[in-house]
Symmetry: D2
Subunit: 284 residues, 4 copies
């Protein structure tokens, strides 16, 4: 089904829901989902509405300007209009660990992710064959401290050529430059293998083991220039015990990582994530 | 804050949200919460809206008739209008087990349940002192097979005298008659100590032990004439292992029971539960 | 590391742990894991011990007879001796749904399952290419009501030729005959898509939707002749809400299924599951 | 049932389990529970064994010296012998928040905590009546910055007079001095309202809100001089969403806090917690 999705934020005041729903009704929009949220502290209103496009009486390319004129300007709205077609284009960056990658490819193969995956990028060759068996092009771009800048240039070109909308780091073991990140603001999703803000940085399972926690976790977040500090999209945890070694923590944690990352990707594809400063509103 | 809460169900069609929000806006309603749900299978629309009453330009007792005239009739709505004052009046029925009762009393004492508790009814005396220490009247109504009918008559009188809105069975070990239940349709909340529909009926922890399940649970539901078959409000589970005895299952399960029951009570008080046939829509 | 694993059950009495550990110590066994369990109701004692084989002073093929003579007979033990080599040989049966299969193949590829997978059997061809990309032979054995018996004969031959130790049904949509099951007592692991004993049989997600449960689940169990009634190995659940459609339940549930099934497989491979009548002791 | 509980730690080597179980068997100990753990990194062995005392052929006050002579010295064991009688004596420190206190009192009233509670100490009077309704003496010791030292002296005297074995801080809003802590090494259990090490210090729910986490938690730990850095005994979490206000986080979190704290108390009473440096082995 062809859908339009409208994401709105504006200063909170009375009548917003009434005017937005009146607009959709006026043009015969069959509303599929509508969610709103008011942040009392910030005095801000947030809304997401999705409706069927086929029966809507405005043409696809008229909607934004009409909405701005009839509703948006009056409420000083910052809004974005999305459609669920063409599908968004997602790149996956990986290193050697396969669990997140295979999980995403499996879901995509089963038709559960409404996304195109024109490119998998890796600084290693080990996952090439299976990626290709799933019918996805695999790009090997090796990275050394010396070649890092050049490699990133190649990666960016690849993103451009493939018209990539957003990037997923599926346990990609390289830190992206601020320059790269600036090309994809709130459009790079990383999976960090701890329940942030605990255990920022490298080797969080080792840190969890040393601290003797009884629960480990994983966090999917948008990448910002500050390491592991971007807006959190999803988190999940698993129980561990004193007898679990670091390598058992790793294995238990990987099950959490892949579920968390896939949920975050799904929210992002469905335009259900709304980053606000350093947090996210998730309209699920 | 004084609130009005409107609960709507009607055949699904376009424009409902627009008209309802227009109505609230027209009378200067400051919307606090609004949720809607469409059941595609049934072709039904469900909605809950809460708004501030003080700044609303319709008088409290005008709202229902105006809403019916301006919106409700047109969409063939079945709606109910609630206010968060006076507080709903809740009776608690218990036997000997204290965990659910104490949990409710503790939350009420901490100001977390917006409800009056004019009466605790028990067929045993053992919990009397602590109930009274919380400042709640305790009524001892013993029950034997012979006196059951008389006892229920007394209970019903007590409900009437105390203008009870809804009843909570906090591990009350007697089965209520169909007659009693008819006085409180979808207004008796029971906690059953299994994840229904598994282990309906008596001694579910024993049954769980015998079956060798790895997870036990609890279910809060509205009481209907068919045992343990009413609309489910909330469920939760806990892991168990092969070495757990039945009495350990009981103890692990009680922690689940009390959390589930308190959540269900809270949803009910806040008018967030909407029973539809044998299911519930929960607007949380 | 080469390991021996001893699984014991016998009538409970004093001194068992002392004698077993004395035996292992006498032959210089470096104990890696030891767990015991007493079922008070049955008056039975259960134990699992794993130790390093390289430094053990008994030869691999002497251990069982010596243990029987020195300890086992005296305590009327029913015991089994396993080694973690050669690796057990696992067959996977699938139909069209890929989530469990891909999850198992991914873990195997990452070196997390200490098992050989000489054969994947399917009554459909759709998953062939990816299975082969993982380097696993794929056998297409179509099944119609008429050919079912013949197909099962072929499957059994395949099991025999490949010296299969145990079978995993990764959402295999055919019911195995009692004859087939008898070849693999407590050695066929099935994943059922409900938290048993709720929703036995076909279409459990539909049944869960109809009942309006707030939690769905999955159960890995050994297959016995009675449908969905065998010993439960592992269970897990996920929360759902009133707005989730049946197809959303399916998708949420699949994430649970694959984790539960993989855990059960792992326990089975590591000889941590001990089926006792219709239950399991899991020494994890 | 009268039980002896032996807690052992020593350098890891072969034969420990054999010798300990031989000792217990020699004196006709009916073993109820036995657990062991090897920390490979530290090269240390840990064990907990519980057995029936009535049928044991050594007198209660002979056990320790015999065990030392026959087993302990040989393996350089650091061991402690406990009995489940007389019951340990627990003090509870609280301020104004009642949820942890009422939860503990409710469990104690239901016979689920094998402990005596001779004293509840508070720097406020608000919870006095209900504590007393449970039959527990309540001591009001107000604290100001000026009187803090004097107040602590009074508290310590109260602990001494009541022969307190361990102290539970049930959301006690004062920081104990190093001097006080030194009297109860690994015998003061605190509940911190975050999943440590995230959100150390004051106002963790506010910090969680600001960071936009999707999961909040609680941690029970032994109090050491460094704030919120002692050995973790138990942790649990709960999901939250963008629309939850800080006060909702507080309420959701309190349900987690009380369950976590009660579990930690139970482990401590049953001598199942073994603090090792800054971590704990929990033999459950």
């Amino acid at each position: 089904m062809k859908k339009a999705i409208l994401i709105i934020q504006c200063p909170d005041q009375k009548g917003i829901v009434a005017e937005v729903s009146k607009f959709l009704y006026a043009y015969e929009g069959n509303i599929l989902e509508v969610d709103q949220h008011v942040d009392e502290q910030m005095g801000m209103f947030f809304m997401r509405a999705a409706w069927e496009l086929d029966s809507f009486s405005l043409a696809k390319d008229e909607i934004a300007s009409r909405f701005r004129a009839e509703v948006g300007e009056r409420f000083k709205m910052d809004f974005k209009l999305h459609f669920n077609f063409p599908k968004p284009r997602m790149a996956i960056f990986v290193s050697k660990l396969s669990h997140c990658l295979f999980d995403i490819l499996g879901r995509h193969h089963a038709g559960q992710l409404d996304v195109d995956i024109p490119v998998v990028v890796s600084n290693h060759q080990s996952l090439k064959e299976i990626v290709q068996a799933f019918g996805i092009p695999f790009h090997y771009i090796p990275i050394t401290p010396e070649t890092k800048a050049t490699a990133e240039t190649k990666q960016l070109e690849l993103m451009k050529t493939n018209r990539i909308d957003f990037v997923v780091l599926g346990r990609y073991m390289q830190i992206l430059s601020a320059e790269f990140i600036r090309h994809f603001p709130n459009r790079i999703i990383n999976i960090h293998h701890s329940f942030l803000p605990a255990f920022v940085g490298a080797r969080p399972y080792h840190a969890a083991y040393e601290r003797g926690v009884k629960i480990i976790g994983a966090t999917a977040h948008y990448v910002t220039e500050e390491l592991d500090a971007g807006p959190i999209i999803e988190q999940e945890v698993a129980r561990v015990r004193h007898h679990n070694t670091v390598s058992e923590l790793v294995q238990i944690g990987q099950d959490v990582e892949k579920v968390v990352l896939s949920k975050a990707i799904k929210y992002h594809i469905d335009r259900k994530v709304m980053p606000i400063k350093n947090k996210t509103v998730i309209f699920y």
